[in-house]
Symmetry: C2
Subunit: 339 residues, 2 copies
């Protein structure tokens, strides 16, 4: 019998995640039955959207309900298999409970190939969620042309650090917005941004106007709130605004009325297209996205930075970093050894 | 020498248009010079966007500045021509001063053909602004498919009364939102709406959920504020929201911060495309839109209602009706006789 630790959703937080929001318990798993897999978690991906699953908004998917195990996107090793699609020893990725071990019938899982030249953490950290999100959001929703000016918020975050580089690869001018001098330095030195704006120090609208006097063609939004308003203020006519995330609003109290962007009128004044997306809708095209992204990584054209927390017991603290901006790169939690 | 009355923008209103916002003066026009036309105004179109031209927002076009003549979209007769493109006796439409007579060099004007079977007021009222706006907004921005559910706000207004009928012509289910039982009756009896919601009496979200239990495919927004929030709340995944107008916000005080829709997060949760447009961008395709619309009118497939105010001196009162919903149909001001 396999014993595991597992995080459970205990009580809905009023606002920020609290000490009793999620509780870690030990339990025994039943043996893997017909068609089932026993999975060992290696890396757990921390994503901004995880907080939403603990709230009461009407979401793009089923939320986690109090009493249920918290779940997350993870890289796992198949320890024991009764399912020919996922042989023992193979690596799989998908939504699984936050735990050392778990049982699965394989639904929603995909096999993860080992890519020569890429570490497992890099491949998982970039290719599982952040990379496809950046690629789909920029190229399929934003659709910039070469020479366009692209602005990215949370530009040093897991997705933002990739969007700037993908935009550069496609011949765009790139402006990244992040908080603090260290992150801003990373934007221009490591992540291919032509310009960085420090929202903690700069007047964002004034700087955007200086850097893009003719306006912005594509705005890639990860934050919402003031950042989105600054972006809407400086858009060029017929520009596109990609709504990838609104992390500044995800810790709201359940009943809060959160104002949309005050410059919403610019949808008319500048004839803007503003469009949201959810990467889970694009899973059937993951192979092509991952091949594209892995190719750029192997060619050294796509830099990235991982922020790895050790140990399942620290998963909640790792997740909370996303909402304060304390992380430096894509946040993963290492649950167990790579092999 | 021609004498005319002309409205001038006197003082920017804090909020609603006030008694001294626009002032009517009498003046003498200089003789028409080389290349110029002397125009006699027949009908003046009152459009929601007119109020914006008196404000200090950064607009889609040059505003009217205090001290300048107020302008509007008008149908005029060419009284005297020194411009071969617009012979004396012809009808023209375009942006002209709010006045009995005006001079023009012809720029921005287009010739208006007389259409057998349509009264001049009908042709101008439907084909000049409202019809192309409804057609472009619904078919080129919203792009519904046959069988889709389309919701329209200010559905008894100049644009809204046409959107529902055009949607029906294309095989859509239509739900119109308007204020009061009389307007709601017009929606279903005259303007081809399958269902009407009275926002003054009904719980709009609850009624939308009843009438569209699977969600709404295309939402056509003319109002903004609570109406837009109701629409965003019931959108179907991958739906389209057309931002044609936000009239509920146009009388705001100059410095007001106007919250965008509180359900903005649904751009992600429902993967929505929200897109604004300005009909002036589509002037080069007016002939095709007008031919299409006139055809439907002559076939009796496009009903419409005009609300005609008599006399230039009453133009301001006519305009103000738009912001209270006091009008019943497309608002025109008759400045002079049709011939």
């Amino acid at each position: 019998m396999t014993h595991t630790r597992r995080w459970y959703f205990n009580r809905r937080p009023a606002k920020d995640i609290e000490a009793d929001t999620l509780l870690l318990r030990e339990e025994a798993l039943p043996p893997a039955g017909a068609g089932q897999l026993l999975l060992r978690t290696i890396y757990l991906s921390m994503d901004a959207t995880n907080r939403l699953w603990l709230g009461d908004w009407d979401l793009y998917m089923e939320p986690v309900r109090p009493g249920e195990a918290m779940k997350g996107f993870a890289l796992c090793e198949v320890i024991e298999s009764h399912n020919a699609a996922f042989p023992a020893g193979s690596l799989v990725a998908g939504l699984v409970p936050w735990s050392d071990y778990s049982l699965s019938d394989g639904s929603g899982l995909s096999l993860v190939p080992r890519i020569a030249g890429l570490k497992l953490a890099e491949a998982f950290g970039v290719l599982a969620i952040a990379g496809p999100t950046a690629l789909v959001g920029l190229m399929e929703i934003g659709r910039p042309k070469a020479g366009d000016t692209v602005v990215v918020t949370a530009a040093a975050g897991a997705v933002g650090m990739l969007v700037g580089q993908i935009a550069r690869i496609h011949g765009c001018r790139t402006i990244g917005i992040a908080g603090g001098p260290d992150k801003c330095r990373m934007l221009t030195e490591s992540f291919g941004y032509d310009h960085a704006i420090d929202y903690k120090r700069d007047d964002v609208v004034a700087r955007l106007r200086e850097l893009a006097p003719d306006g912005v063609d594509v705005h890639f939004e990860n934050v919402g709130g003031d950042m989105l308003d600054a972006g809407l203020t400086v858009m060029k006519n017929f520009g596109a605004v990609v709504i990838c995330g609104l992390i500044s609003t995800y810790n709201s109290a359940a009943g809060d009325r959160i104002p949309g962007p005050y410059m919403f009128r610019n949808l008319i004044m500048r004839r803007l297209r503003v469009e949201g997306f959810v990467i889970l809708d694009y899973l059937d095209r993951y192979p092509q996205y991952q091949a594209q992204l892995a190719g750029w990584m192997l060619e050294g054209r796509l830099n990235y930075r991982l922020d790895i927390t050790e140990g399942l017991e620290n998963a909640v603290d790792a997740l909370k970093m996303l909402y304060t901006g304390a992380n430096n790169g894509k946040v993963l939690v290492r649950i167990g050894p790579e092999s």
